[in-house]
């Protein structure tokens, strides 16, 4: 009885419940702050509001940066940028990769499927950050290009998972049964194979989200993703690095926000995988 409706307390007591709850609350908090502080807060993210390097105080809890901008406003206006780019950088490859993987897994022509399969292995051989950095050289830097590059390079990981899964699923009895019942190939793929494959790729997408956040902020840390004066955690940390000996708050607060987001996701992922394993 998978879909039995259970109370919140019972849900929480199942394996991983606490992790999923903590992670979701943490994620919700930072998304809310990311909406409220930049839009309804007293400062603008690129406005000069005081003396440069002003340490954290009551008016500016995270202090001011090298140009006298409010670090708290900038830290929270990055939430939308980082999580937004990472969301696109995960969901586009997820969709493309799952579809390609299913097609490969069901392909009648083994030679073509194997050929595409080894191209996929070739793409996956490169660390994601490396292939992203290399492609940015030719495509040019910028957030839009980061999304494009993640789409081009990251789909292969999903395609690999999806292909393996599609092969397994297509051999299951219920697929045979649907064939016997005379359902069309299209219906079998859409109603029976796709949902079973995508549950696997979506699960991977959640943990990939953490990796992609790190890659996106890493790229902008290297100065390849965002242009000033846009606020983004990686670039804020990179800018603050030069002044780390006089003002730690330039690096620590954006870094903590970045870690907070990644850790909240990792609690959710850990919780879900514990629930699936059942311990």
């Amino acid at each position: 009885m998978r879909n039995r409706i259970i109370g919140f307390k019972e849900w929480l007591s199942l394996p991983g419940g606490f992790g999923i709850l903590t992670g979701s609350v943490m994620l919700g908090v930072i998304i809310l702050l990311g909406i409220i502080i930049p839009n309804f807060g007293p400062y603008k993210s690129d406005a000069f509001v005081g003396d440069p390097f002003l340490p954290p105080s009551r008016n500016h809890p995270f202090g001011l940066d090298q140009l006298g901008r409010d670090v708290m406003t900038r830290t929270f206006s990055s939430v939308g940028v980082d999580l937004g780019v990472a969301f696109l950088g995960v969901s586009i490859p997820l969709i493309i990769g799952t579809i390609i993987g299913i097609l490969l897994g069901l392909a009648k022509n083994r030679h073509v499927a194997n050929l595409v399969g080894s191209i996929i292995d070739g793409i996956n051989a490169f660390p994601l950050l490396i292939i992203a950095v290399a492609m940015l050289t030719f495509l040019g830097t910028g957030l839009k290009n980061v999304v494009i590059i993640l789409a081009i390079s990251n789909w292969a990981r999903y395609a690999r998972i999806s292909r393996t899964r599609a092969v397994v699923v297509s051999k299951q009895n219920y697929i045979e049964a649907s064939k016997t019942l005379g359902y069309s190939r299209k219906r079998i793929i859409l109603k029976h194979i796709a949902p079973n494959v995508s549950s696997e790729t979506v699960a991977y997408a959640l943990s990939d989200f953490i990796l992609v956040i790190v890659v996106v902020s890493g790229l902008s840390f290297l100065g390849l993703a965002t242009q000033p004066p846009m606020a983004e955690w990686g670039s804020m940390i990179a800018d603050g690095r030069a002044f780390i000996s006089i003002s730690w708050w330039l690096v620590i607060f954006p870094g903590l926000a970045l870690c907070w987001s990644a850790i909240s996701l990792s609690f959710i992922v850990e919780g879900i995988s514990r629930r699936d394993r059942g311990n």
Binding site: A125, F126, P127, L129, M135, F138, L222, I237, I252, A262
Partner: protein
């Protein structure tokens, strides 16, 4: 056994071939002319010269065969920025990166074995739970932030590590290397000990372990043959994968610590649009990753024949 290894080698070679094709095509699949993009709006002659230098003239098959012939001769082109050969640049920057990764892996492996097995052996729910929480927190933190905290503590607070620079001579270089190695080691311990932990937990359930206890095998032999050796295979596979991932991560680490490794060379090449260097380093990264995962799978197979590779 030989057949398994040979078929794995065949797969490594085929992936290696595609790695080569991808590094060749990365400059070519992106819309626009890289030569024109680099030079800006100058006269056509200069663009033609650069196109020739970048191996962008002629048909795509001609370009590819020129590329392959160059590769076989160990020729990866010449840097547009400095005029040095790319092979030379890789040869002079790769060793530092490799040392960095080997040392971190070594320390992480040595520390993870007691940590992972001890936690699996204790079986106490509270210890296991906090181990899981702590390692998943460490793994979610980007390496550049861990590095920043390291710099804040060891460079700004206590002056144990220099801020910038590097000296290649042996005893002096440790001063610059220990902090990046520490950062890498912390991250790798979290991954390796987690996997070792779960595979020791699984191994403990196996029937042969019970047999070992009943037969009264000596403590040291029991620990090595019955517990550690069967648990190591998944760890080794992961280790080889992680070393590949670490290659990617060193790009950021070397930039932070201004170490003259291959990662920083790549970033410099990207920032100066030095296409041949980018292409060459990309190839090396791909080939190394394929090689590492091949070695990892073979070692795992030798340790435990039940492993599918």
């Amino acid at each position: 056994m030989l057949r398994t290894i040979l078929s794995r080698l065949g797969r490594a070679l085929s992936v290696g071939f595609w790695v080569m094709v991808i590094s060749f095509s990365i400059m070519r699949i992106i819309p626009g002319d890289p030569a024109a993009a680099r030079l800006g709006g100058v006269e056509q002659d200069a663009i033609e010269v650069l196109r020739k230098e970048l191996n962008l003239d002629g048909s795509i098959m001609q370009q590819f065969s020129t590329y392959i012939v160059g590769l076989l001769k160990g020729d990866l082109g010449v840097s547009l920025q400095t005029g040095r050969s790319v092979t030379d640049i890789i040869g002079s920057t790769l060793p530092l990166t490799v040392y960095l990764i080997i040392f971190s892996t070594f320390f992480a492996f040595v520390l993870s074995i007691p940590l992972g097995t001890a936690i699996a052996w204790s079986g106490r729910a509270s210890i296991v739970y906090s181990f899981r929480v702590i390692t998943s927190i460490i793994l979610a933190i980007p390496n550049f932030f861990i590095a920043m905290i390291g710099i804040l503590i060891f460079t700004v607070r206590v002056n144990w590590s220099p801020v910038f620079g590097y000296e290649p001579q042996f005893p002096q270089n440790l001063k610059y290397l220990w902090l990046p190695v520490l950062v890498n080691t912390i991250i790798m311990i979290s991954v390796i000990s987690r996997v070792l932990f779960s595979s020791v937990v699984e191994t403990k359930e196996e029937e042969f372990v019970e047999t070992g206890i009943i037969r009264g095998v000596g403590r040291r032999k029991f620990f090595w043959f019955y517990i550690l050796k069967p648990s190591l295979a998944p760890t080794v596979v992961l280790l080889s994968y992680m070393m590949g991932a670490m290659l990617g991560a060193t790009v950021i680490l070397e930039t932070i610590f201004t170490l003259p490794g291959i990662g920083r060379e790549l970033v410099n090449a990207v920032l100066t649009s030095d296409y041949p260097v980018v292409q060459g380093i990309l190839l090396i990264f791909g080939v190394l990753t394929v090689l590492l995962s091949f070695i990892g799978d073979i070692v795992a197979y030798v340790l435990d024949r039940r492993v599918k590779i």
